[in-house]
């Protein structure tokens, strides 16, 4: 059973048109992450939530925003997508304080900007 679910799997958006990607989890984990992964590169952390506490990475563009209305859901908003924002976007969760600290990933949303 999928534990971290991302919707949609594939998203096509127009240049400059706002787009929202969604992530839900059934693990009741308190930490949720958004990563951006471009072709043949490692996932790059955009931001994460520790409970409701938002933590932005210093080099994440202002164009990227996030919302976490409750424990289960987290959204990635791209206000004005550019061609350079085409990538796979990965959501992950983890439980702070666990001995392992393993992060569980969703299947990702592949974003195409036309």
């Amino acid at each position: 059973d999928a534990m971290v679910i991302q919707n949609p799997r594939y998203q096509v958006t127009q240049f400059g048109k706002p787009v929202t990607l969604s992530c839900s989890q059934t693990l009741n984990h308190n930490v949720m992450y958004w990563y951006q992964q471009k072709s043949s590169q490692a996932p790059k952390l955009l931001f994460h939530y520790y409970d409701k506490d938002f933590n932005n990475e210093a080099d994440t563009p202002d164009n990227f925003q996030s919302r976490r209305p409750n424990t289960s859901f987290c959204f990635l908003d791209i206000r004005s997508p550019g061609l350079g924002d085409a990538a796979m976007y990965l959501c992950a969760t983890s439980r702070h304080g666990t001995p392992g600290g393993e992060a569980f990933f969703g299947q990702g949303t592949r974003l195409t900007v036309v």
């Binding site: 971290v4 991302q6 930490v31 992450y33 043949s40 590169q41 490692a42 996932p43 790059k44 952390l45 994460h48 520790y50 933590n55 990965l90 992950a92 983890s94 702070h96 001995p99 392992g100 600290g101 393993e102 992060a103 569980f104 990933f105 969703g106 299947q107 990702g108 592949r110």
Partner: protein, 113 residues
């Protein structure tokens, strides 16, 4: 075969061979390390982890070795199978009090029958 990580991003092996994938990590304060497997079009999948107070950990067909002196991590896969073909990432977790996984450069493993 052996990968030298950043300088050899693709490792090609024959089915049945043992594979060794290497990773150099950056933060000497990192407390926890994970190897992830990522198949094409999918999210990373946990393989095995190791804490900084260990130097070796074994799983099913996989072994992770940690050398803190030179900040080096390796993943050994025994009897590599075509289903092992994927990109492998090491990730480190700095001991900063919260979970913030930082991924290293991946290595693509190609297993031919």
């Amino acid at each position: 075969g052996e990968s030298v990580g950043l300088h050899l991003p693709t490792l090609s092996v024959q089915e049945g061979d043992n594979s060794i994938i290497n990773c150099a990590y950056s933060n000497s304060a990192s407390d926890y390390f994970i190897w992830y497997k990522q198949e094409s079009g999918k999210g990373p999948q946990f393989i095995i982890d190791i804490r900084s107070n260990m130097d070796k950990r074994q799983g099913q067909r996989v072994t992770v070795l940690l050398n803190k002196t030179v900040k080096h991590l390796s993943l050994q896969i025994a009897a590599t199978q075509p289903g092992d073909s994927a990109v492998y990432f090491c990730a480190e977790l700095p001991d900063t009090g919260f979970q913030k996984l930082v991924f290293g450069t991946g290595t693509r493993l190609l297993v031919s029958p």
